[in-house]
Amino acid sequence: MSQLAGKAVHHAPASKRIGARKASHRRPASWASRQFSGARPLVLILLLTLLGALLLLSLALGSAVIPLDQIVNVLLSGEADKPAWTNIVLKFRLPKTMTATLAGMALGVSGLLMQTWFRNPLAEPFVLGVSSGASLGVALVVLTAGAGGGALLAGLGLAGDLLLTAAAGLGAAVTMGLVLLVAARIQSSVTLLILGLMFGYLVAALVSLLLYFALPERIQAYINWTFGSFSGVTGAQLPLLAIIVLAGLLLAAALVKPLNALLLGEDYARSLGVDLKPTRIGIVLATALLVSAVTAFCGPIAFIGIAVPHLCRALLASADHRLLLPGTCLAGACVALCASIIAELPGNNLVLPLNVVTALLGAPVVMLVVLRAMRGAP
């Protein structure tokens, strides 16, 4: 053994000298370019192009046929040849399209935050229990409202929608406050994950209890909410949704560096200079903002949050959040727009539940992408 160690001593400097000469020729920059090879910006540009096309498509498609140039006219000058067209585009299609875009971005990014923070590929935006809180709020309003509530829901008018949004928002906000309070005190992310899941079960049980004693038509109203929809947001509500989502996205963008460090786990992240507590609170706050806003305005939209980050990692072949964050933003918006378009395909009067479309069409696509990416990797 001593001989073995001795040999290592004698050989090491020689091999190092040779290596040193080689290394001085090698340009470190070539490594850097490897790190961000040209394919990745290209993927981002492709996603951006796709998003542009889907935005136009989403505005162009619907039960009323409006020529594409007229839609562009409405967008540019606010006026189409027929006032009805202007009305349809500005009052219905634009809010729906913008809602889908914002919701897709929000869900994709919050899914990424959760998966990185919990270091668990199965984590999704709803693991913190925020959407459970929102569903409890909605269930309480829909299922327990008195006679007045019944009348209100029977009409399902604008006031009813507003009430649902408010109830979901309140439920989500209360849950968000609770989660933040817990996150500030509890250091272990696994503990928080388990608490969030248990809170979800608890709330699901309460909702089931409410459903059990509720009238059938009210149950239907509640189930309608759980289907999710991008069409419920009016032009007046849109700025609120946009502001909250943008705030959440900006917060997430400020966290890309600690998120990259967290890929090595919390201990290593801390040793790399990450201040864990503000990071934890930032991640939870960003996720809660994004998910609360989307759930309140669109209902509990499943699938996008868990699938889009995986889709992006496969497309970008990178774990770097500086790429993944814009990637999940763009891909999330694309997926949400696709789902929205397919749910209301022209030619049939049927509007499919959004959650049905996202999962039925999205899951096979993601399976395919992830399997192909796995085959490429060892």
Partner: protein, 336 residues
């Protein structure tokens, strides 16, 4: 001698409990870690080696006392400032998907880079230097998933190096590695301590390797920490005290722990070189006591021109055998 890179004064380590009183693992520790030295932290399981490293690294608050990093109180440093002076390698090398070796080592530049973690030309140079210093040039562009435990741990050490911190703390970094990789890692750390003037503290259970490569050992037991040159500690019987356990004793002559067995028949081995060394080990393993004096049993190494032979003299009779196993069998059949 320059001021130590890492200092502990009257440090008490352990865990705070709300109601039942704190669990104290060690108290009143005064420690100095100098630049340019590789220090091995040895001690039995559960004595608090990891807790000490975590406390020194600022991941855990001391129950009392202070940790000074380059003369500044560790508790007053921001995480980023601390990361510029102190780097860490843990037992398990994480294996994030879709990351290559270079990107992993580049994470070590975090304490120095901007809010986005963008790397400057100087950062890239530091990363390339660190990768080269651990001899990982050939694996730097490989995805981490393709690498072995040893290769990933090498990159984790490079990442700690790229941090350009004076102090490097390693918590059993070689636990999952095979023996050649462990020897290589210790040698690497020793070289780095010298050439890059780092203060390196490594906790390990690899006593033999630590004795051969560390400049200093810190022996940790329930009584506290005893430091010194490995050889001085051996000769003063400190290793035996630290790891004292029933049925095991530290043999200062061989530098290894031996099982306490009832003294067996005494054997004298005549011979030199590797053959004699391994013959002695085989006899010890089988419960014989070695002696230098003439004895009832003697094993002699002989050369018959073709190869080695072992001659046994036992109660006046002698026989010759080609292998160590044959010698052991012969001794046993004679009832010796």
């Amino acid at each position: 001698m320059t001021a130590p890179a890492l200092t502990a004064r009257q440090l008490t380590i352990g865990y705070r409990r709300r109601s039942k009183g704190d669990i104290v693992l060690a108290q009143g520790l005064d420690l100095d870690l100098q630049c340019g030295a590789l220090v091995g932290l040895l001690g039995p399981n559960g004595v608090g080696k990891s807790t000490l490293l975590r406390t020194l690294a600022g991941m855990q608050k001391p129950l009392a006392g202070r940790v000074l990093i380059k003369g500044r109180d560790g508790a007053s440093l921001t995480p980023q400032m601390r990361a510029r002076h102190l780097s860490l390698v843990l037992t398990e090398a994480p294996q994030p998907d879709l990351m290559n070796g270079y990107a992993l080592v580049a994470l070590g530049r975090h304490p120095h880079s901007d809010w986005l973690g963008r790397l400057t030309e100087a950062d890239h140079r530091a990363v390339a230097w660190a990768i080269h210093a651990v001899g990982a040039d050939d694996i730097a562009e490989q995805p981490l998933a393709k690498l072995s435990d040893g290769q990933r741990q090498k990159l984790m050490i490079a990442r700690a190096l790229a941090q350009e911190a004076d102090v490097m703390l390693l918590d059993e970094p070689t636990a999952y590695l095979d023996l050649p990789r462990r020897v290589e890692t210790m040698q690497l750390l020793k070289d780095l301590a010298r050439s890059a003037a780092r203060a390196i503290l490594i906790s390990t259970h690899d006593l033999d390797l630590a004795l051969r490569s560390c400049d200093q050992l810190w022996l940790m037991s329930a009584a506290g920490i005893v430091g010194g040159a490995p050889e001085d500690l051996v000769l003063a019987g400190r290793l035996g005290e630290t790891f004292s356990a029933d049925g095991i004793r530290f043999d200062a002559r061989s530098g290894a722990f031996l099982l306490n067995t009832a003294p067996g028949r005494r054997v004298r081995v005549d011979g030199e070189g590797a053959g004699a060394i391994w013959m002695r080990r085989a006899l010890t393993r089988n419960g014989y006591s070695l002696t230098d004096e003439s004895s009832a049993i003697e094993v002699r190494q002989r050369s018959n021109g073709v190869g080695q032979l072992w001659q046994i003299s036992l109660q006046g009779r002698s026989s010759e055998h080609a292998t160590i196993q044959a010698v052991l069998d012969a001794l046993e059949s004679e009832g010796a």
